[in-house]
């Protein structure tokens, strides 16, 4: 009986996993088919003659190279900038004393319940006044700090012993030196977690870039793919290649750093 139960449970898990991964594998397979091959019935599962033509077409005709660069630049800028702001602030909320600290932190936590879309219309007008609409700045500047990021860093930094800071201060180290040479190394694991989280979020973001970027030259991959897919409804093979190009980088980052990502998930879920 235990043998049978084991077989059953493993069979179910294998089945669920297959169904879950199948769309992604199929995307990869169709992206290697020649034009029109996927628009037949029954749908072919593997390409007759695998070809990279769709990928070539994406770069040569659809300008995907430029969108790829936009996505890479924006994701890097958002990630580096917000790490600096959030790690500094999270550390200060945990370990430095200043007027109104706990009250400000409570207000920030309360603000977590407000969906970001509520701010979108006035934010658009504000950025328009600042001349940031239809620029990289319109994406990067509002993303430079996040309540979630500050919160995650603070929770982790709370465990740093005060003696460590006191000892450094007695040795005459300034606050910025302490931050750079003592705090940042101690916070390294949570910094990696936050970096993975932020970069995946920035890469995948859709609604805000769609609103702020009107110039096609500035489109990120998701915005470009959405716009292409509205034009090229029939070019399934081309669209699948575009989907691979858009989602493969994040999948790879996740596969390599999933330990850090999953920790961020369970940390974030404890935000009560």
């Amino acid at each position: 009986m235990p043998g049978l139960a084991k077989l059953f449970v493993n069979g179910v898990v294998l089945g669920v996993a297959t169904i879950t991964v199948a769309p992604l594998v199929w995307m990869l397979s169709v992206s290697l088919m020649s034009p029109g091959e996927a628009s037949t019935f029954p749908p072919p599962l593997v390409p007759g003659r695998p070809t990279l033509d769709n990928y070539r077409g994406l770069f040569a005709r659809a300008g995907m190279g430029g969108y790829l660069v936009n996505s890479v630049v924006l994701t890097t800028a958002v990630t580096l900038g917000s790490l600096l702001f959030n790690v500094a602030a999270g550390y200060a909320f945990a370990k430095l004393r200043f007027a109104g600290r706990d009250r400000i932190f409570k207000v920030l936590l309360g603000a977590l319940v407000i969906p970001s879309q509520v701010a979108m219309v006035p934010l658009f007008l504000l950025l328009k006044h600042l001349g940031l609409v239809n620029t990289y700045g319109g994406i990067v500047v509002p993303a430079l700090a996040s309540i979630f990021g500050i919160f995650v860093v603070r929770q982790y930094a709370l465990s740093i012993p005060d003696e460590l800071l006191e000892a450094a201060r007695i040795d005459g180290a300034g606050e910025f030196r302490i931050f750079r040479s003592i705090i940042v190394p101690v916070l390294r694991p949570i910094v990696v977690t936050l970096a993975v989280f932020t970069s995946l979020g920035a890469w995948n973001d859709f609604m805000w870039p769609l609103i702020v970027l009107s110039d096609m030259d500035l489109y990120t991959l998701p915005v470009a793919l959405a716009s292409l897919s509205r034009e090229h409804v029939q070019d399934n093979e081309l669209m699948m290649a575009g989907a691979v190009l858009t989602t493969l980088p994040v999948l790879l980052v996740f596969l390599v750093l999933q330990r850090y990502y999953i920790r961020g998930l369970t940390l974030g879920s404890l935000r009560e």
Partner: protein, 292 residues
């Protein structure tokens, strides 16, 4: 702990960004929802007038707003229980000691969560294709006649729900899995010594221990599902017959296609108030069941 001056240097940059680019716009949204801010005001702010609650009153008389609200509610009421149910089932499966390679399967089931929504929406639009989509092909093998998933007003929202469940269930699965792993083994041992069956162990140990996590997962998932936007934008463009226009999709078109920014702000605020009310009710219910 002193060093007051330096502390501000650490927090000020982040607080300024959050204050200027989030808190201020939220209050501005409330103010704007009381004005007739439109494309003329966009060109010249002298065309701006306070109109009190007129935007709200007009929205409540707009059939498409109500349709968007009903569509979103449908997505939440059907999608959230389905999504959480699949997450919970998958977590229980992965938690079973019988499973071989649990790490590998966890990664596979979680993969859709990290994918780019727009990219996988494009894949699923193709899977749902009535003529040569894989889904109808699979169904035809078991004798189901073709369904026009995204072209039929009564099937479009269910199709989007199927897609959303596939995309999202891994997230809550990880949280449930962490919860299951944190239940102390002695509790189960004690139950077994008392002769409790597997089902009774589940009912009287697993479920009560997970209750706080379930409440939290419910609240976060419902709030997330109310923010439906990219799925209809990519897969159906709100159609067919506006059967997949969501509240945010409506807000997007109202604000950034027709430039009725006052009215769009009112839509955003109504959505927020609704999510807030639903969250408050859930917290109240959780506290109430916890007390009794």
């Amino acid at each position: 702990m002193k060093s007051v001056g330096a502390a501000w240097w650490f927090v000020a940059p982040a607080l300024v960004v959050i204050g200027v680019f989030f808190v201020l716009p939220v209050f501005a949204a409330l103010a704007m929802s009381l004005t007739d801010f439109d494309i003329y005001a966009l060109a010249d702010s002298r065309n701006l007038r306070l109109v009190g609650l007129r935007n709200y009153a007009e929205l409540l008389q707009t059939p498409l707003f109500w349709k968007a609200f009903r569509n979103t509610l449908y997505f939440v009421v059907v999608g959230v229980p389905l999504s959480i149910g699949v997450s919970f089932g998958a977590a229980l499966l992965l938690h079973s000691r019988l499973v071989r390679f649990p790490g590998l399967f966890r990664t596979a089931l979680f993969a859709p969560v990290v994918t780019t929504l727009v990219a996988v929406a494009v894949i699923w639009r193709y899977l749902f294709n009535p003529h040569y989509g894989l889904l109808n092909y699979a169904l035809s093998r078991v004798g189901v006649s073709p369904i026009d998933w995204l072209g039929d007003p009564s099937w479009a929202m269910p199709a989007i729900i199927v897609f959303a469940v596939w995309k999202n269930f891994g997230y809550n699965m990880i949280i449930f899995l962490a919860g299951l792993q944190s239940i102390p083994e002695p509790l189960y041992e004690a139950a077994r010594i008392d002769g409790a069956s597997i089902w009774r162990q589940f009912r009287h140990v697993t479920l009560p221990m997970l209750a706080p996590i379930v409440t939290m997962v419910n609240i976060l998932t419902i709030a997330g599902y109310f923010q439906l936007f990219a799925e209809p934008y990519v897969m159906t463009q709100g159609g067919p017959l506006q059967s997949t226009v969501s509240v945010l999709y409506f807000m997007y078109e109202e604000g950034f296609k027709w430039w009725n920014l006052g009215s769009a702000s009112a839509v955003a605020f109504l959505l927020f108030l609704f999510i807030f009310a639903v969250t408050a009710v859930q917290l109240r219910l959780a506290r109430w069941t916890h007390a009794s």
